[in-house]
Every structure is written in structure tokens, then in C-alpha cells.
């Protein structure tokens, strides 16, 4: 119940803010928005002891019970971490944004979107029902889209928003398909019920497709390789948004999903390999690309990509533990997951602080370009402090929390390389090597932040205004985060006991007593391989940073049009022009072509169906004999019909058409249908007169100049259609499976009081059709009248199209 309130509260406040904004012009609307994350944070923080004692907190609201879709919240250790991050960092970001955004911006939109996002994100992490989770998942995509394009007058913002929307929603939809597959296998949408059925579904044929599709959703959201390309472009958003969405919360939704579903899919070899390798590639590629960035926010974006890859690979390595029976050694592998969760929290703290720091620099100096920055240390000492703490923590230096999680990461990759499972041993050595190389690059770009932006030569470019230290309120939020960074280094085990332990229990529900799952974190753990690797990172990193100018050339090895971004652009514009071409190739605007498609479709669907089903069967035994004069009349009609195609003047065509009409009348007579013959005659005459009426207004008959091939294809189509219709009607003639109902109508005099069967059918038995046909005539008459009477005045607007 409380959790439902926590999810609904941001939505409610978003609604209130959008309503009352006009009335509160004096107070910054952000203060109102600030209350929400603080309240949510307090609600969650009060539940920590209950969760830590191992009692998940669940509540269900019925939504669509008939479809098994219920608004079920489930609060356990894993959700708690994310809930605290979302509300905690959310409060700090709102506080920061109050001073960051000027009141000239459309603030009610900003806070409305931000609160929408917050509520959606809380919904994602607290939902137990997969469908509800998906709904909130898409809501985060939409609100993120709105936030990225907050300055929608800028082209880059719109482009970035579109890109992130396309990529994350594509992943989201594939995830939905994966969820539905899970539902098909287990007949349940509840994550926890599905976890109980693991043994039954792991052999199911949909298991692997569901896994891959869900991973696709998680990877696109969490900016994993090769879907990371939207994240750097999303940096067009206001900095508080970047700090909140694109470092601390939304991009971790994918990691949340992977961790949440690990009990289901973990233990599968494919899961381990996909998650771990994609994570490691992302880790390396992000850190490698971050070094070459010149925009601080882009640098931070790539570093986020890289760190997310780190967390993802750790979650993947942790999934090995499911495949092993529990023994003392298993704990070693679960520690990878522990490291992932620990680094998840650490990353949110220092990356949030770094983004806010960049925002302050941007705010005060007016640029974020590294090439134009420099020597800010003496001007902005407090901001510099934030930058140093954040960067060193990101680089994994003591005494900051990044050091601890990096040591755990190295420990995890070193353990995994020795594992004899999933054929890891053959390539096991690659794990620590890639991890180590990526760490070196991480170290280099952290140094770039510190040295290029804050130390070194003073500002060379003239800046618009005198640069000075940021106002104190702007610094409150990053400082709180920095305090977190340091205190997490000194007291990691408090966090481990109350927050991480229950999360580990919820990731490994069937495994091991909880004490063994949570290792003690030691800042100093003796001289071992991990610490040596860290020292090597510092040494090699320093040397490489010193020689940065010498080897920057390697980034020019691959041409820019080979990048993933170029691929994305090419695919988007390519598919656009391709579909344009395809559409233009068949939507020619010529009616002749459309008729061609319709008839060929008719030929292929009906003809082929008749052919394959063997419906063509003819017999002539029931046919009546044909008289002499009938042959002659048929010959006349054939001659007239064929001559119509070749005549040169319209009026001849109309006269021949009249001949056809007379012929039809005569056949009606022969087949004893006097009413039809009468009507046919009248209609024939009226149409002939109408044709003649129109001719006065028509230009001279000019036959279209058609090429020979068109003529041939036209005649082939028309001959085939004609033949097909003839064959079908002949086949239908022999269809004699049911008794005819016409016997019933023969008794028309007794039933309806009329001797004329046709007329009694029209007016009595089936009078409804007649009524509607009268309506048709009425509408046609009205249509003709309006067409003639109400034509657009000369010079008036053309109403067509």
C-alpha cells in the first residue's frame, strides 16, 4: 500500500504542478516538486529495517484480473536499492535544478516531466507484474524523450530525443514480446511466480528467444554496445536531466531488469556469455571513446556507458553461480553480483556529482569544451573539489568508493578466469585483460577532467562574464554526493549489511545463507593481484596521459563514417529513402497501375486457390441445348463487344454498347425473365442518353498513347481475368451440393398474395434489400445534384485533396 503511494505520488504532483503553476509565480515551482522525492525517500528509508530482516513487502491492486494483469508492488532488497537511488538522487537533482534553471524557462513543463519520469522509474523497480513493469518502462522512455528535448527549439535536442526514443522504444517493444513469451511458458506475469517455475521452463523452446528479446530491451535502455549511441546525444538535455536520467536512474533500468531476471535466466550459458561479453565490450568501447571527447558532457556520457558496461558484465559473471550447486566456492562468483550492486550505488553518487559539476562549469563559464577551459582551480575551488572527488572515485582511487568497487571488480574477473564452466577457461584470460585495459582508459579520462579543465593554463578564450565560484545553493547537492562518495569508502559494510545483503538475497533466492553472500569489504586487503593491477593502472595511466598527444592519432585510424553513429544515421536515412522509393515505385498515381495490381491479385489469389484446391470441374450433362438463333445472337454480341475496343469515336462505342444492351434484353427474354428484360431496356436507354449528355462536355476522344508492352500486359491481364471468371462460373454451375431455396418462393401467391414471384421477392420476402437500393438511388441522385449545383466558385479554393 505504501509503495503504491510512493509510485502514485510523483504522478499526482506532476498533475498538481501543471495546474497550479500560474497561481504561484513568486515561489520557484521546484520547491513544490522537491517535496515528492523527499517524502518517497523517507517512506523507503523507514522500510529498510523490515527489508533487511528479510521480509519482502508486497501488495496487490487489481487492475485487469481477467488478463492476470494486476498492479502488484514488490519491495525487496533489489528494488530498495533502486528506490533509494531514484528518490535520493532525485531530491538532490531537483534541489540542484531549482538553482540551475532560471525562472524564464518553462519550469512547470520541466518539473512535470521530471516527476513523471520519477514515478515511472519507481513503477519500473517496484512492479512485480511484467505487464505493469513494461508500461512504466515505456513511460520512462516517453518522459526521457520529453526531458531530452526540453529545449525543443534546438535542432540537436530534437535529434537526440528522437534517437533515444527510437532506440529505447525498439528495445522496449522487443522486451514486451519477451515478456509475453515468458507468460506463454509459465502462465503468469508475476516475476516471483515465474522464478518458482524455473525448472519447468528452461527446456521450453521459447526460453532462449524470450531471453534474447528481454536482453535486447535491457541493453538498449542501459546503453550497452552497440546501442549506446543514443546516450551521448541525449546530453543535449539540461544538465540536471543528464545527471538524473542518464547517469543515475534510467540507464540503470536495464541493469535492474537483468539483475531481477537473473534467477530465471541465470545459469544458462548463453545468458552468461551475452551479458558478460556485451558488458565488457561496452566497458572497453565506452572508456576508449571517452578519452577523445572534447565536450565534458560527452566525455561523461561515454564514461557512463563504460561504467554501465562494467556493472552489466559483473551481473553476467554473477549469474554463473546459478549454474553451480551450492558449495563454498560459489560465493566467489556471487561476489561479482555484489560488486555490481555496490558499484551501481557508487556510480550513481560520483557520476551525479560529476554531472552537476559540469553543469556548474557550464553555468559559470559558458562553455563545456575542454579545449577552451583551463585553470579553473583557483577561481572555482569548491567546484574543483567536487571534480577531484568524483573523478578520482571514478578512476578507482582511494580513499573514495570507486576504489572499493574496482577492487571487487578485479577480484571478480580474476575469479571468473579460473572457472571451468561454459568453456570459459579457453578465453578466461581475456576477462582481466580487457578489464584492466578499460581501467587504464578510465584513469586517463578522469585525469583529463581534472587536469585539462581545472589545472594547467588559465582561460585563453575571453568568456562572456567574469568567472567566479558558483553560488552556494548550487553546490549543496554535489557536495552531499561527495560526502556519500567518501563515507561509502570508510563505511562500506554498513551499506553492505542493510542494503546490499537483502538485494543479494533477492537476486539469489535459492542460494546460500545470506551471511555468505555478503562479503566484508576491506579497504586494505593485503598485497594481492588486485592491488597490483590497480597500481599498474595508475602507473601506465599516468604515462599514457603524459603522452596523450603522441597517441591520439589512433582515433583517426577508423574513418568517422565507419562509426556506429554513422551506421545508425545511414540505416535511418537509408530506410527512409528506401521506403520512399518503394512507395513511389508502385504508388504511381496512375489508375491503370492500381487496376493492374487489383486484377493481378485477383488472378493470383483466386485463380491459384481454385487451381490448388481442385475446384475446377466441369460437366455439360445438365446443360440445356443451344438453339441456332442463340448462336447467332451470341456471335453478334461478341462482335459488338470486341469492336468497342477498337472503335475510333465515342458515339460508335455508345451505339455498340446499345447493341450489347439489346442483346442482354433478348437473353433475358429467352431465359424467361420479363421483369428483368423490362428494367434492362429502360436502364439501357437512360444510360445511353446520359452518355450522350456527357459527350457535349468532353474533349475529342484521344486514345492514350500506350507502349506495346503495356498493351500486351493489359491484354494478358484482361484475357486472364475474363477466362478466370468464365472458368469459375462454369465450375460454380456444377456445384450442386445443397437444395435450392427457390421452391419456397413458388408458393408466393399463398405466402405473399402475389402471383409475380420476382416482385414478391423484391417487395415482400426480401424487401429490406429493395429499400436500401432505393436509398442508393436517392444518394446517387443527391450526389449528382450537389455535384452540379455546388461547384466551387471560380477562383475559390480547390477543395480536392
Amino acid at each position: 500500500m505504501t509503495i503504491h503511494v510512493a509510485i502514485i505520488l510523483p504522478f499526482l504532483m506532476a498533475f498538481i504542478i501543471s495546474i497550479i503553476n500560474k497561481k504561484f509565480t513568486k515561489i520557484h515551482i521546484g520547491w513544490l516538486a522537491l517535496t515528492v522525492p523527499i517524502i518517497v525517500f523517507i517512506i523507503l528509508a523507514r522500510l529498510i529495517p523490515i527489508i533487511a530482516s528479510g521480509n519482502p513487502y508486497t501488495h496487490t491492486y487489481q487492475w485487469i484480473p481477467s488478463l492476470d494483469i494486476n498492479f502488484t508492488t514488490y519491495l525487496d532488497g533489489l528494488s530498495m536499492i533502486f528506490g533509494l537511488l531514484i528518490s535520493g538522487i532525485g531530491s538532490l537533482v531537483v534541489l540542484y535544478s531549482i538553482f540551475y534553471l532560471s525562472s524564464k524557462e518553462s519550469l512547470q513543463h520541466f518539473y512535470c516531466y521530471l516527476l513523471l519520469f520519477m514515478g515511472a522509474m519507481l513503477g519500473v523497480v517496484f512492479s512485480d507484474n511484467l505487464m505493469v513493469l513494461y508500461a512504466f518502462w515505456e513511460l520512462t522512455s516517453v518522459s526521457s524523450f520529453l526531458l531530452i528535448s526540453f529545449w525543443h527549439h534546438r535542432k540537436a535536442s530534437r535529434a537526440g530525443a528522437q534517437k533515444s526514443m527510437l532506440i529505447t522504444v525498439t528495445g522496449g517493444v522487443s522486451m514486451l514480446v519477451g515478456f509475453i513469451m515468458l507468460h506463454m511458458m509459465t502462465d503468469s506475469y508475476s516475476v516471483h511466480e515465474i522464478i518458482h517455475q524455473i525448472e519447468h521452463i528452461s527446456e521450453h523452446e521459447l526460453f532462449i528467444p524470450a531471453m534474447i528479446l528481454i536482453l535486447l530491451g535491457a541493453f538498449t535502455k542501459s546503453a550497452q554496445f552497440p546501442f549506446h549511441i543514443w546516450l551521448p546525444d541525449a546530453m543535449e538535455a539540461p544538465t540536471p536531466v543528464s545527471a538524473y536520467l542518464h547517469s543515475a536512474t534510467m540507464v540503470k533500468a536495464g541493469i535492474y531488469l537483468v539483475a531481477r531476471l537473473s534467477p530465471i535466466f541465470g545459469g544458462e550459458m548463453l545468458w552468461f556469455w551475452i551479458v558478460t561479453t556485451v558488458g565488457l565490450i561496452t566497458l572497453f568501447w565506452g572508456s576508449f571513446n571517452a578519452v577523445k571527447q572534447t565536450d565534458l558532457k560527452a566525455l561523461l556520457a561515454f564514461s557512463t556507458v563504460s561504467q554501465l558496461g562494467l556493472i552489466m558484465s559483473l551481473v553476467g559473471m554473477g549469474s554463473v553461480a546459478y549454474a553451480l550447486d551450492f558449495e563454498a566456492d560459489t560465493v566467489i562468483y556471487t561476489q561479482a553480483t555484489f560488486a555490481a550492486l555496490f558499484h551501481l550505488i557508487n556510480h550513481s553518487t560520483f557520476k551525479g556529482a560529476l554531472f552537476m559539476m559540469v553543469g556548474i562549469v557550464d553555468h559559470e563559464v559558458g562553455t563545456r569544451d575542454i579545449r577552451r577551459l583551463g585553470g579553473l582551480m583557483s577561481i572555482m575551488p569548491l567546484t574543483f573539489t567536487v571534480a577531484v572527488i568524483g573523478s578520482l572515485s571514478m578512476a578507482g582511487m582511494p580513499p573514495f568508493n570507486g576504489f572499493l568497487s574496482k577492487e571487487l571488480f578485479f577480484a571478480a574477473v580474476l575469479h571468473i578466469k579460473d572457472l571451468n564452466l561454459f568453456s570459459i577457461s579457453s578465453v578466461g584470460i581475456l576477462f582481466p585483460v580487457i578489464a584492466w585495459i578499460a581501467s587504464v582508459f578510465t584513469f586517463i579520462y578522469c585525469m583529463i577532467i581534472i587536469f585539462k579543465a581545472f589545472l594547467g593554463r588559465p582561460l585563453i578564450q575571453k568568456v562572456e562574464r567574469p568567472v567566479h565560484e558558483a553560488p552556494f545553493p548550487l553546490l549543496v547537492a554535489p557536495f552531499i554526493l561527495c560526502i556519500m562518495v567518501i563515507s561509502l569508502f570508510f563505511f562500506p559494510n554498513t551499506l553492505g549489511k542493510y542494503i546490499l545483503k537483502p538485494a543479494m538475497v533477492s537476486i539469489y533466492p535459492n542460494l546460500a545463507p545470506a551471511q555468505k553472500l555478503t562479503p566484508e569489504i576491506h579497504a586494505w586487503h593485503g598485497i594481492n593481484t588486485e592491488i597490483l593491477m590497480t597500481i599498474a593502472v595508475i602507473l601506465i595511466g599516468t604515462i599514457l596521459y603524459r603522452l596523450l598527444g603522441k597517441w591520439m592519432g589512433i582515433y583517426r585510424f577508423y574513418p568517422p563514417n565507419w562509426s556506429l553513429n554513422a551506421l545508425y544515421v545511414n540505416v535511418i536515412s537509408g530506410s527512409e529513402s528506401l521506403s520512399n522509393k518503394v512507395t513511389n515505385s508502385y504508388m504511381t498515381g496512375l489508375l491503370r497501375h492500381y487496376a493492374f495490381y487489383i486484377y493481378s491479385f485477383f488472378i493470383f489469389s483466386v485463380g491459384v486457390f481454385f487451381f490448388y484446391s481442385g475446384a475446377f470441374s466441369f460437366s455439360t450433362e445438365n446443360n440445356a441445348s443451344i438453339e441456332w438463333y442463340e448462336w447467332i445472337l451470341i456471335g453478334v454480341m461478341l462482335l459488338a463487344a470486341i469492336s468497342i475496343l477498337f472503335v475510333k469515336s465515342r458515339i460508335t462505342a455508345v451505339i455498340l454498347n446499345g447493341v450489347l444492351g439489346f442483346g442482354v434484353t433478348f437473353f433475358f427474354v429467352l431465359f424467361r425473365a420479363p421483369d428483368l428484360a423490362l428494367t434492362q431496356l429502360v436502364v439501357e436507354s437512360v444510360t445511353t442518353v446520359l452518355f450522350l449528355l456527357c459527350f457535349y462536355y468532353l474533349p475529342e476522344w484521344s486514345t492514350e498513347k500506350l507502349s506495346i508492352s503495356t498493351k500486351i500486359s493489359n491484354s494478358i491481364i484482361s484475357i486472364t481475368v475474363g477466362a478466370l471468371v468464365v472458368v469459375i462460373s462454369l465450375a460454380v454451375l456444377n456445384f450442386d451440393k445443397f437444395e435450392r431455396i427457390s421452391k419456397y418462393f413458388e408458393d408466393a401467391y399463398n405466402l405473399a398474395g402475389g402471383a409475380n414471384i420476382v416482385n414478391t421477392i423484391l417487395g415482400d420476402f426480401r424487401g429490406f434489400d429493395t429499400m436500401l437500393e432505393v436509398v442508393v438511388l436517392f444518394i446517387a441522385g443527391l450526389g449528382v445534384y450537389t455535384l452540379i449545383k455546388f461547384k466551387a466558385k471560380k477562383g475559390g479554393t480547390d477543395f480536392e485533396d
Binding site: 438463333y629 451505339i655 429467352l670
Partner: protein, 94 residues
């Protein structure tokens, strides 16, 4: 015997229609074609009469009457079109 004569006459009428159709297709002038169409109408009228004798029914007598009227109207319409270029004239035109 009567029946055979009737069918023979139907065949002869059909041949008449073929001849008329030849005139319609070949032309050469438009009035030729209109007259031929009128002729086809009248021939059909006779054929329908014979057919109703053959079929021993009175149901087609209305058809004969209507055909007579309509082939007349049709011929008039064609003639007027050929002469004036239009069939129904507005008041201001006259």
C-alpha cells in the same frame, strides 16, 4: 411445323441483326449507325414477339411495347445529339 417456321424466322432475324451490326461497325457516317441501331431495336422487337409465341407466354408483351417506345426515344436522342451536339437544351439557349 409452325415451330420450325418460327425458329427459321428467328434465325433470319438474327442474320438481319448481323447485317445491321456490320453497318454500325463500318459506318461510314454516324447517321448510318444510328439507323442501324434503330433497326436492331425493331428486329429485336419482332424476335421477342416470336419468342413469346414459342414460349407460349404473354409476359413479354410489355417488353415489346417498351422496346418500341425506347428505341424511338433512343433514336430521337441520337439524332438530336448529332444535329445540335446536345440533347437537353437550357432555356437561355433557345
Amino acid at each position: 411445323m409452325t415451330e420450325k417456321i418460327l425458329i427459321l424466322s428467328l434465325v433470319l432475324f438474327s442474320i438481319t441483326i448481323i447485317v445491321a451490326l456490320f453497318r454500325i461497325i463500318r459506318g461510314p457516317s454516324m447517321p448510318d449507325r444510328v439507323v442501324a441501331l434503330d433497326m436492331i431495336g425493331v428486329t429485336l422487337l419482332s424476335m421477342i414477339a416470336i419468342v413469346s409465341i414459342l414460349l407460349k407466354t404473354k409476359a413479354f408483351l410489355e417488353v415489346i411495347l417498351i422496346l418500341g417506345i425506347l428505341s424511338f426515344i433512343g433514336t430521337i436522342a441520337f439524332s438530336k445529339y448529332l444535329e445540335r451536339g446536345k440533347i437537353i437544351e437550357r432555356k437561355s439557349d433557345s
